[in-house]
């Protein structure tokens, strides 16, 4: 799907058809906030001064052309950024008001609470479908007496239960790409994260699978905070409550505009945002 022939009015009508989620119910925590986040790879400054709040129980889409730092930003949110040896950062990322980069913070606990779904489906090849879903429990050493119920509820929430309930013992590689990606979503749900980060989760999928995953996202947003990176404008309009537009003009990526999704697509405040969402460039 390309964005070039989509008129702004059709996107804004899609976006405004959603009812805005009300942020901040106590059950879901206080959400995720970033304060002046910068990122570097070696000497290269790739992300500059991002201050953005993700209220609990909302879906936020990060959009922008390739290389604008959205994925890097996403990876600073659960401390995956530091996996790259040359990486450095500055600023604060607050989960329930506490900086996840503060000294003494246990990074594995952070990643347990802030889950991630990757661009390419990556089910563990040595495990069956069922083992894949429950793998997080083993890896994080969480005890759960009722794994059958958990298995069913995770796969149901990921929209995959009906397709795989009779073949839980098969290997994950036997599934189609879209099913594999939903398996990965189910896997990340099993450890009950507060926040789910999704890095272009549908970019390798056909429209049918994409539709199923978007349904899943809408469903999940009731119980968790979701941040999704996407190149697909319609997807951003369909699934998100808030949208942030990132752009790099050769220098580090910056956040040009962040607002409720309907206003980003109907009345963007910045000329460059308007150009991008209407497909005039990028």
């Amino acid at each position: 799907m390309t964005t070039s022939h989509v008129t702004p009015s059709s996107l804004s009508s899609v976006a405004s058809a959603r009812t805005l989620s009300q942020p901040g119910t106590a059950l879901l925590g206080n959400g995720l906030e970033t304060r002046g986040v910068h990122a570097w790879f070696g000497k290269k400054h790739v992300l500059s001064d991002i201050t953005l709040d993700f209220a609990a129980g909302t879906v936020t889409a990060l959009i922008g052309p390739s290389g604008c730092g959205k994925s890097t930003f996403l990876r600073t949110l659960n401390r995956m950024h530091e996996f790259i040896p040359t990486a450095a950062m500055a600023g604060e990322v607050l989960l329930d008001g506490k900086d996840i980069y503060a000294p003494g913070i246990d990074v594995t606990k952070i990643r347990l609470r802030v889950g991630m779904v990757f661009q390419k489906p990556n089910p563990f090849p040595s495990m069956t479908i069922g083992q894949n879903v429950l793998s997080g429990l083993k890896l994080a050493q969480i005890k759960n007496s009722n794994t059958d119920d958990l298995l069913e509820s995770c796969l149901t929430r990921a929209g995959l239960w009906n397709e795989v309930k009779d073949r839980l013992g098969e290997h994950g590689g036997a599934l189609s790409g879209g099913q594999q990606q939903r398996l990965c979503i189910a896997r990340s749900l099993a450890v009950e994260p507060q926040v789910l980060l999704m890095d272009e989760p549908c970019s390798a999928l056909d429209p049918g699978s994409t539709f199923r995953i978007e349904e899943t996202i809408a469903d999940l947003a009731k119980t968790m905070t979701i941040v999704i990176v996407t190149h697909n404008m319609q997807q951003a309009a369909r699934v998100s409550d808030y949208t942030a537009f990132f752009l790099s003009d050769g220098g580090p990526g910056e956040m040009i505009e962040a607002a409720p999704t309907s206003s980003i697509f109907s009345s963007p405040q910045n000329k460059r945002t308007e150009d991008y969402v209407t497909g005039r460039f990028g």
Partner: protein, 348 residues
């Protein structure tokens, strides 16, 4: 824009306090280990090592348990175990290098690389004679073996990975079995199949051929593993551009595997450069410089070391042997360092 850009930080790296804590645990464990050796039945280097090892394990576990809980404590056990494994691996390496250097430097002198042993005996004063003939012999025979076995090894690997024909499985099995052939057997094979019936004379070339038999399996197996790491998408992309299989392999697959192939060469050379037994059988062991691989006995560094140890008996002979080892070791280090440097450089 006059925005203030903060300094890049790496908040995930251990702080000074963390390092200080780790260091105190290390020093503390050393102290406790010392006390254990002093006041209990433990003694000697081994006792000290085990006392230190277990103290460190327990201290680290307790510290991380108190600081961050059970999971972190279990993690710390693995960290101590890996650190200890590295330590244990380094002991023999460091010990060998240190011994060779400390004993070998006495055997060094200015003529070492310019003279041969044609007119000197191993028991003569160090300054007479040298190991030029041995170094040249090693270079010629190992180089010759490399020139023959690299193409054969890589082509075998290409057959196994790219062509993958019906014979792939039996060949893979044979190559694997061949890598276990004792080196003396390779020497005897050349002796009985080429020297006795055909050439009826020892030569450097025969030495190269014996070494080739030992080298091919190593190069073929390593290259095969390296070629298997190249993703199939690259092959498909090459073929989809209209490349023939040969052009795709030569232009895309092999360049992508370049550093792996250098590893194959290094492992292959490492397999044969210290071989003594097969060379004794098929290239004899000359004491004078011989640069013609097709005729006459040819010396080699391992042979030079062997002869000085076995036929000498004087301090001079032992110094010669250790000096030969130092030269062989330095030669290997320089060679492998060069290979890594050349393969690590970005091409164009």
């Amino acid at each position: 824009m006059n925005k203030v850009i903060p300094a890049p930080q790496k908040p995930w790296q251990p702080t000074f306090i963390d390092k200080l804590e780790d260091f105190s645990i290390l020093v503390g464990s050393l102290g406790v280990a010392g006390a254990i050796v002093k006041f209990t039945g433990f003694n000697g280097k081994l006792g000290y090592f085990f006392a230190f090892f277990f103290t460190l394990l327990v201290a680290n576990f307790a510290f991380h348990f108190l600081k961050r809980g059970m999971q972190a404590a279990k993690d710390s056990i693995l960290q101590v175990l890996t650190a200890m494994a590295i330590f244990v691996t380094l002991i023999p390496i460091v010990s060998i290098v240190a011994t060779v250097v400390s004993k070998g430097y006495k055997g060094l002198h200015w003529g070492l690389l310019t003279k041969d042993m044609a007119l000197a005996s191993v028991n003569d004063p160090i300054a007479s004679g040298g190991l030029l003939h041995a170094l040249v012999g090693t270079i010629i025979m190992v180089g010759g073996a490399l020139i023959i076995s690299f193409p054969i090894g890589v082509l075998t690997a290409l057959y196994l990975t790219e062509i993958n024909g019906k014979l792939a499985r039996p060949i893979k099995f044979l190559v694997q079995a061949m890598s276990g052939v004792p080196s003396i057997v390779a020497g005897l094979f050349i002796l009985s199949s080429l020297i006795y019936p055909v050439t009826k004379a020892l030569s450097g070339l025969m030495g190269s051929l014996a070494l080739t038999i030992l080298m091919i399996p190593t190069i073929a197996r390593t290259s095969e593993e390296m070629l298997r790491l190249i993703p199939n998408e690259l092959r498909e992309a090459g073929v989809a551009l209209g490349g023939t299989q040969w052009r795709t392999v030569a232009g895309v697959v092999l360049p992508a595997a370049k550093s792996g192939l250098v590893t194959a060469i290094i492992l292959g050379v490492a397999r044969i450069i210290g071989e003594t037994a097969p060379l004794l059988l098929v290239s004899g062991g000359g004491d004078s410089l011989n640069t013609n691989p097709t005729s006459g006995a040819m010396g080699s560094l391992p042979y030079y070391i062997w002869k000085a140890f076995l036929t000498g008996g004087t301090p001079e002979a032992f110094a010669r042997a250790w000096g030969g080892m130092l030269v062989l070791l330095s030669f290997i280090f320089i060679l492998f360092g060069l290979a890594r440097y050349l393969s690590g450089r970005k091409v164009g």
